[in-house]
């Protein structure tokens, strides 16, 4: 799967958890899920579960903890897909 496709799919599932739609409009690789998008930290768990389902991968705890920015999330998913 191309990085661009991973990014678009991830953005789609992240959007579900963003109440502040204006913040989401400016999303880029460096965007921080909690600080910039104001996602409730409890929902990071749900984003990881959704990503596991969408990409058919398993994300271990150590990798999950890294998924705080869009870029970091894309990297983790790309790595798991490559394994």
């Amino acid at each position: 799967m191309e990085v661009q496709e991973i990014t678009e799919k991830l953005k789609g599932l992240i959007e579900t958890y963003v109440e502040d739609k204006a913040a989401f409009a400016n999303i880029n690789a460096e965007t921080h899920l909690i600080e910039d998008l104001k996602i409730n930290s409890a929902h990071l768990v749900d984003i990881i579960l959704d990503a596991e389902e969408v990409f058919d991968i398993e994300i271990d705890d150590e990798s999950a903890e890294k998924m705080l920015t869009v870029q970091a999330a894309v990297d983790v998913v790309a790595q798991k897909l490559a394994e």
Binding site: T16, E19, V45, D46, L49
Partner: protein, 438 residues
Amino acid sequence: MQRGFIRYDPQKENNVKRVVITGMGVVAPNAVGVADFTTAIKSGQSGIAFLPELEELKFSCQLGGIPPVTPSLLQRYFSDLTLKQLKANGIRFGCIAGIDAWQDAGLAYPVGKEEDPNWEAGCVFGAGMSGMSVIRRGIYTVDEGKVKRLGSSLIQQTMPSGISAYLSGMLGLGNQVSTNASACSTGTEAVILGFERIRSGKAKVMLCGSCDSYGPYVWGGFDSMRVLCRKSNDSPEKASRPMSESAAGFVPGSGAGALVLEDLDHALERGAKIYAEVVGGYINSGGHRQGGTMTAPNPQGIQRCIAGALNDAQIQASEIDAISGHLTSTMGDVLEVQNWSKALDRKGKAFPKINALKSMIGHCLSAAGAIESVAAILQLNQQFLHPSINCEDLHPEIADIIDQDCIPRETSSYPLNIIAKSSFGFGDVNSILLFKRI
């Protein structure tokens, strides 16, 4: 004393606040929203339907009351994210009723995330099995070895206080935020608890009410106990028959009712519309003694509860104009009328008017007391009595105590000054509320 805190000083008489109702919301099997609900109860509209799912699952009672909550209605109250996660029907009903009541009272909504919560406003919002479907999903997920997949939203929907937690978040409540639970007495008890908190000066506004869910997992235990109506699957609207000789068990319902209780001075200051005054209430238990059990009330307990409410309100038994009974369509109906008659020392034509909302919506379990309180206040505020349907064949033991005309069979305008609301629940628990016209 820190600014913004309210301190109760029982030595100061002026700290005993008067409490009024300034907003209401309702999600009932026969209507959603106060306006439609008013029309429904005035026309004696039943909300009971045959449910094929219960037939497939071999229930003896295949009937139930489920509020007509549509997807488009849900979208008016919840964000897409909340709807994706919040699957507990009881909590959904409670939130809809709660938000409606809050807006009906003219209180601020929505509240910005960076604003102060309202430190003087709280809630006591009761629940029963409001998250049963979510509990079921959680159990299957764990048993499949997939605990990791439970996600973030299971706990908040399955903890008893889920409903009060959701409401606090939506409305920005900063005072007491609790859920009470006392089975079918829950809703009435919630209103009394909020009333006492405002009366003692600890809060200015309390959102009180209760909610419950529906479906085979909520109702199965009652079906097995043989307390549900098993004889009317082919005539759903005739099944719930409080005070009737042919009453054959209750019909389960679901939904939510919500009432904004407010310090009278606070309501007057902000020019709020006032539906009624809460003049008194009492909560007790029969202690599973003297005929009381887990499922049957101790008559002494009920009579003491009625006397306790009269004393709390400082009114005479003769002043009660009408009773919105607990009246479930079981043998308990006779006992309730007996207990009211003894406690008030009134019988025959001198007995107050009495009706049963459950004749239209069934027994909404933990939500019952709150939905029925909304109906009681509507009758008081608009000076009418709704019909108690399906009791054309009045139970002879009730007819021995009170006059036929005490039970309205059709809607009629009627002068009401004080109306009582009673609720009794498993565990031999009782609660009585007294509302007065203002």
